[in-house]
Symmetry: C3
Subunit: 297 residues, 3 copies
């Protein structure tokens, strides 16, 4: 599988395995998680996407269990995680409302906590999970720079940032932000025209895409017209609709890295089908227009 | 008539004659088209706006017929044309959906085709017709730079671009983009406040305005309140409502070049009336507020 | 009270007294106005916000009456005023429609007029009141630079500008714009996420906030859920809801300077309570979410 260089020190596999629901699986044993990781690695999917909050603060711990049991896996993996969302949770009974925290103290503590939870001593890529309307860019930038300098974090980036969030934070940092992980799918196509992709392309930054299958909504009745087109295109190439939906993102010149999450071992084994789909320009527009419900202007 | 320098090598006449409907006229003979061109030139309107798709890929050919019959006209004209829209058309039966193509191969082929269709060896200004959500800026920019370097195209620009589209493409080019042709009229006033004009003014770029009369909608019942005001102002100055509507654009400090299309020889002869209208600041706002249906805040 | 440096030459008090309704008070005598100014100064509120149009062009004159009667006050005050809105008014019977005027001639004349009305020879900070869709940035920038160079105006800034308005005008000036006075309150929270605050933070510019209490709407039935939360938080700290609403702005890292207008001497005396409120991050988000009617995403 192709790898994509986010900067001089970090390359991710073109497809990234998302661990959003890792803790929701019936089987969260180290052995089963190890099999998922190995199923990814078998296809060249070497990059894994986490966040401190996934699985109500449980997903990093589940991954940590597997890495403790099979520490040889770590060297073959790039681990991405995120911080700044503060969920209300039984684990934090004193917390009153969901909020964000981009203070230096929290970012540093969250990083230490993620390292401990995952039983690792290095995070390859740490992302600010959501733009924080209360962000002090100087403080946040200083914390992120410091984590890179300390070696605890290899690269830093953001998620769900608009251009103004990006330029505000970047202007306060010496490290270059490595990526912006944003929502892009056939159900959520705004990024192609509203500037969210354009500014990343202009800055030479490769985006990651969360929910590239719209969290499963692509397979719902509401979107059956899109799914029908995906199936038609896929069946002509011997792949399923999912592979075509992902290939639609891969074809875009921005160099999008889709984050695909599934707990189904069989589906993991088929993820790389997406990289083998032919997606010419006109077919890309055909899907885009079916998804939008109208022609381009 | 005033000319406006778009850059060091290209000046257009303040009013541009739009050939959007050239192929729709009952008489598309070379002689009749020549009379239209001469009616423009008589008033100092020396710039002519085309696109490969106008008239279902027919308008450039109609113009080419006239230029073949009267080749002396060419030296007095600046010819603007556009590419990247791929219409579904009986002329392209294999095309499945309307789409855009900003690939280098297409831009170069479309330029060659426009040169051939218009029987000319040089396009003064080539525009990317619509922002392409699938644009590879490096490739598109390389193609545009190459066309300028080859001498086949004098200057290049864009149409309907937002700031993020512009900066993405410009950052990938060595040539400076010469203009952005956008929709501006009393019916479509967003550009005055949403940044579409502001960024062009900031970059020192003169905009062209398409549909400055809202494609005729300005004369419809819906907009009779605007038309009434235009007539009132016009009659006090001995010009018609159309001239006032165009003058409203000319008065703006951005240096807007309206593209006016009409197949009516008598109206062509009256186009330059717009340049003789007095339009003071308060009258400009009066029309702006009537058009918007409310006072400025 | 804390002061905030807008640039090397101008610092304002953290809270600014707004004179929007100064001329609407029953008592506009020099003595009564002097008592208001002294009530502010007593708390360290040394900055006063005016505009030529306030009180139907009357508020600057009311202030001027007090400064004529008690000229010693001037040296303790920073006076902010604004121009470019052209109200229809019995005072300008020839004016047909509300509009803006950012021409050099008007800006210079308006400044002279404000100096005369307030009986002062120096304006500390002159703001363009509203972005003008008809602005010629070169001309407006030249006029503002000139007023600073002449010494009649200490610093210049803007109000209600979007990023594109700001960069357009700033690019045409040698003086740095000192602030952008925008609407921010618990009822109008867009600026925290739409880039209006982010670009100011990125450029190192401190914003002023107009209507920080939403012009009183915060105390209306519609917003009783917000008011209830403010009262709850305030009563725990021995201050009233108003102080908490202002403290919510003060807590933000952008360094917001709220402009508070009241003709009630007793309320003026309590304004600085806002600076004594504790506002931690989670409480900030609690109010933000109550105000927005939903959690952060």
């Amino acid at each position: 599988m192709q790898t994509i260089a986010l900067n001089d020190t970090l390359s991710l596999s073109r497809l990234v395995y998302g661990m959003w629901r890792l803790a929701d699986d019936l089987d969260t044993s180290p052995g089963h998680v190890q099999r998922k990781i190995e199923a990814c690695l078998d296809q060249g999917i070497t990059s894994f996407d986490q966040a401190d909050i996934y699985g109500d603060y449980g997903s990093e711990i589940v991954l940590g269990g597997a890495l403790k049991a099979a520490p040889h896996l770590r060297a073959q993996m790039q681990i991405v995680t995120k911080c700044d969302i503060m969920l209300t949770s039984e684990k934090f009974p004193e917390r009153r409302v969901k909020h964000y925290d981009t203070s230096a103290a929290h970012i540093i503590a969250a990083t230490e906590n993620s390292l401990r939870a995952m039983s690792i001593d290095h995070i390859d890529l740490l992302l600010i999970h959501r733009p924080d309307p209360f962000m002090d860019a100087a403080e946040t930038g200083w914390a992120l720079d410091g984590l890179v300098q300390s070696g605890k974090v290899g690269s830093v980036g953001v998620s769900n940032f608009k251009r103004h969030d990006w330029t505000l934070l970047q202007a306060a940092m010496s490290t270059q932000l490595a990526t912006n992980q944003i929502e892009i799918s056939l159900v959520t196509t705004d990024a192609f025209v509203n500037g969210d992709l354009a500014f990343l392309q202009e800055f030479g930054v490769k985006p990651m895409a969360w929910s590239p299958l719209a969290g499963g909504a692509l397979f719902s009745e509401t979107h059956s017209h899109i799914f029908g087109a995906l199936e038609r295109i896929g069946s002509a190439q011997g792949v399923d609709a999912t592979a075509v939906a992902i290939a639609w993102l891969l074809a875009h010149p921005a160099g999008i890295l889709p984050v695909i999450g599934t707990n189904d071992l069989a589906r993991i084994k088929k993820m790389s089908d997406a990289t083998r789909v032919d997606m010419d320009r006109e077919t890309w527009f055909e899907l885009y227009e079916i998804a939008n419900g109208h022609e381009v202007p």
